[in-house]
Symmetry: none
Subunit: 408 residues, 2 copies
C-alpha cells in the first residue's frame, strides 16, 4: 500500500481545529557577527515561551530535501503536505500568483520581461534598460487592449515591477512546460518556444500560441525605443493538485496579506479570507472565523523580508511583533497549533537557505520536550526530530486524533 | 541496487549474539498531570542507568510513518524489519494469532462474531446480545464438530471472548482479501463476501467458500435464540513473508508470553520458546538458550497494558519490574542489546499512539551518547536520531559487525 493511501484510509473527521502559523523564512543561523545567536534566540518572546513551557513538541523541518533551498512555491507546497518533487509549479504560475492573478485549472502562465531588439531582431538588452514600472504598466495595458484573444484562447496580461510582466493563456487543450524564448545572453535572436515533450499535442498547441502571440505583440511594441521586444520564460500550466479539503478532510482557510501566499493557498483549494492587513488583524479574523473552518493557514511575511535584507535587528523585532499578538490567537486556542517557517532565511546569507526550519507543535497530546523556549538550538533536541516538511500536516492530523489505528 | 539487496549482499555471519527486548508500548508523553514526566522518566531504574552509563546509543523510532498509530501487527513487523506498508497482515490473521492458532502459509483467516438474525435474515443485533464467552465456546465447538471440511478445504474454528470467534480455512488456491459479510449496522441483511479483485481466481474461490460455510453453519445455529447468525470480517490470508533467518542470517528465537506476540514472531519464522510466564523466567530462559540461537526477541506486555489503562504508577512499576530482572539477562550479555517498544502507549491517551518510541542500543561499538539515563527526552538527543523502526535490526547487525564495507 502507498503511504498516501494509508493516510487516507485511516482518516476520520473529528471536528478538531488546526492552525498552521507560517513565519516566512523564520529559520536562521547563529554566527559570530550576531553574538552566536539567531534572531529567534535573541528575541524577547514571553508568549511563545509560555506556550512552550505549557507543553510542546519541537523539531526541525527539511523544506524539500537535504541541501535544497526552496522558493516560496515549493516551500509552501511542502508545508501543505504536497511533495514539491511530485507537484511542480512553474515559475510563470508562481509569478502570476505573486501578482494576485487568478489562475484556473489548465491555464498556462509565463513570466515575461521587456527587452530591446535591434533591426535584425537580435536582443541587445535583456531588460530593456530596466524601464520604469509605470512604462511597463502602460505597455502592458496597450498589449492587453490589442490582444484579447488568440484563436479560442483568452490572453491576460499584467505588469509587474520594472521590465517584468506576466501573460496567462486561458483556453482548451493547453499545457506546459514549453521552452523559454530567452537566448540567455545578449547578441542572439529570440528563441522559438518549443514543447518540452515533442509528442505532447497540448504543449505543441501552447508553443504555437506563443509564436502567434509574438506575431501580434511585436508590431504593437515596434515603435518603443527600448521595450520593443520581450522574453518569455517559465511557461507552464497550473498543475492539477488534489484539494487540501479532499486530502485531509479539513475545511481550510488562508489568512495571508501578500498575493503570492494567497495564491499558493488557493492552488491547493484553500478558501481565501480577505481583509486583514497585519498579523494582529489576521489573528483577530482567525478568532472571528473560528467556527467556519477546520484548518487555518496564517502567513507572516516580515521574518523573511528582513532576513533577505540581512537585517538581524528587524528580523528579531518582527518575531517580537508576532509574539505580541500571539495571545489574540490563543484566545480561541486551536486543538493543534503549529508555528514554523516555510524555510530559513538567514540574515547572514540575505536570502533563502536549505537549513531546516524550527517547528513547534502544541496539542493536548503533543507531550512536552521540556524546553524553555522555541529556538533553533532547542528544536534540535525536540521529539519531532528532523523531518521532511511534507509530513507536517499528517502529524497535525495525528495530534487532532484524526487517524484510526493501523492494523490490529 | 535496492537497499534490501545491498544489505543482503554485504551480510556476513559472525556468530554474534543479538537480543531485542520489546517493552510493549514503552513510549509515553510528559504532561502536567504527571509532573511533566513520562513513566520511564519517573521510574527508578538503577540497572538501566548503569547500562546507559556504560556506553549506549539512543534515539527514537517511528513505528510506521509520521503520525501513524500502529496496532501490534504492523508495530512488530516494523520492529522485525519488514515494512508494514509492504507486508500487510489482515485483521483475521492477527486475531487468529492472538488466540494462539497456528497459521500456515496460504491459510485464510477471518474474525467473526455471532449476531442475531430475524426470520427474514435481517441483522437485529450485530453482537448477539454479547453472549457469554462460555456460550460462544459451546457454539464454536458445535460448529467445529459439524463442519470440518468444505470441499478440499479444512475449516478450523476457535472461540474468543464474548461473541467473538475466528475461522481459518486451510486449502489449496485460497487467498484474501475478501470483503466482509457485515452490513455494518442493524436492520440490514448479511452481505455476500466478494473478492477484492474480481479477476483474482483465488479470492473468488475463497469468497465461494465463505458462502458455502454460511450455508452449512446457519442451520446449525438456527435454533439459538440470540446467536443464530454471524458476521465475518478481515478475511485475509497469511502473507508470504521472507523468513527472518534468511533475511538476516541469524537463527532467531522468540520468548513471549502472550499468544499474539508468539504468533507475530512465528509469522516471520522465529522459533517459539515455550514455557516462561514472567519476564524473569524469560530472561532465565534466554540465558539457558544462549548458545542455541543468534537472535533473541523478548516481549514484555505490561508496559502497554498499564498504558492502555491510563495507569501511570502501574506502568512506571512495570518498567521498574523489568529493570529488576535486567541483571539476569546481562549475566550472558549479548554482543548487541536493544531495549525499546513497538510503539508508544501514553497513559494520558489510554491507547497506542504515533509518538516515536525511545530506543537504546548497547554494543562494544555503539559508542556513548553521554546520557545518564534511558528516557524519551534523553533519547531525543541520542546519536541514533529519529528513524524508522524498519531499520533497527540493520543497525543491530551493523553493531554485530555483520556487514562488509560497501565499495572500496
Amino acid at each position: 500500500m502507498k503511504l498516501e493511501e494509508l493516510y487516507s484510509s485511516l482518516t476520520i473527521k473529528t471536528g478538531a481545529k488546526l492552525a498552521l502559523i507560517v513565519l516566512d523564512g523564520l529559520g536562521d543561523i547563529a554566527t559570530a557577527a550576531t553574538g552566536n545567536m539567531t534572531p529567534l534566540e535573541a528575541a524577547t518572546t514571553p508568549n511563545l515561551d509560555a506556550l512552550v513551557q505549557s507543553g510542546c513538541a519541537q523539531g526541525r523541518m527539511i523544506p524539500v530535501a537535504p541541501g535544497i533551498t526552496p522558493g516560496s512555491g515549493p516551500g509552501h507546497l511542502g508545508l501543505f503536505g504536497y511533495d514539491p518533487l511530485e507537484f511542480e509549479v512553474g515559475r510563470g504560475v508562481i509569478e502570476a500568483l505573486g501578482l494576485g492573478m487568478e489562475l484556473k485549472a489548465g491555464d498556462v502562465a509565463a513570466r515575461a520581461n521587456f527587452c530591446t531588439l535591434d533591426k535584425k531582431g537580435v536582443v541587445t538588452d535583456r531588460r530593456a534598460g530596466r524601464i520604469a514600472t509605470e512604462v511597463c504598466e502602460e505597455l502592458c495595458e496597450l498589449l492587453a487592449k490589442k490582444i484579447k484573444k488568440i484563436g479560442d484562447a483568452q490572453v491576460i496580461i499584467k505588469a509587474g515591477k520594472e521590465h517584468r510582466f506576466v501573460v496567462i493563456f486561458r483556453g482548451k487543450g493547453l499545457e506546459g512546460p514549453v521552452s523559454s524564448t530567452d537566448p540567455n545572453r545578449e547578441g542572439l535572436k529570440l528563441v522559438e518556444a518549443k514543447p518540452e515533450d515533442p509528442k505532447n499535442a497540448k504543449q505543441k498547441k501552447t508553443a504555437k500560441l506563443i509564436a502567434e502571440f509574438y506575431k501580434k505583440a511585436l508590431p504593437v511594441l515596434a515603435s518603443h525605443p527600448k521595450a520593443n521586444g520581450f522574453l518569455m520564460r517559465g511557461i507552464a500550466h497550473q498543475p492539477e493538485i488534489p484539494s487540501f479539503e479532499q486530502r485531509y478532510q479539513l475545511k481550510p482557510a488562508a489568512l495571508a496579506v501578500y498575493p503570492m501566499y494567497k495564491g499558493l493557498a488557493q492552488l491547493v483549494g484553500m478558501n481565501k479570507i480577505e481583509g486583514p492587513q497585519t498579523i494582529a488583524e489576521q489573528c483577530q479574523r482567525y478568532v472571528a472565523e473560528f467556527d467556519n473552518y477546520d484548518f487555518f493557514f496564517l502567513h507572516y511575511k516580515y521574518t523573511d523580508k528582513y532576513g533577505e535584507d540581512g537585517n538581524f535587528e528587524a528580523k528579531k523585532k518582527a518575531i517580537e511583533d508576532f509574539d505580541a499578538v500571539l495571545p489574540i490567537l490563543l484566545g480561541k486556542k486551536p486543538d493543534v497549533l503549529v508555528i514554523t517557517g516555510d524555510h530559513s532565511t538567514p540574515c547572514a546569507m540575505k536570502g533563502h537557505s536549505w537549513h531546516p526550519q524550527p517547528v513547534l507543535l502544541h496539542s493536548a497530546c503533543s507531550g512536552s520536550d521540556k524546553l524553555d523556549r522555541f529556538t533553533e538550538t532547542g528544536a534540535n533536541m525536540g521529539s519531532l526530530g528532523v523531518f521532511e516538511a511534507k509530513y507536517l500536516i499528517r502529524l497535525m492530523q495525528a495530534n487532532a486524533k484524526m487517524f484510526d489505528k493501523f492494523g490490529a
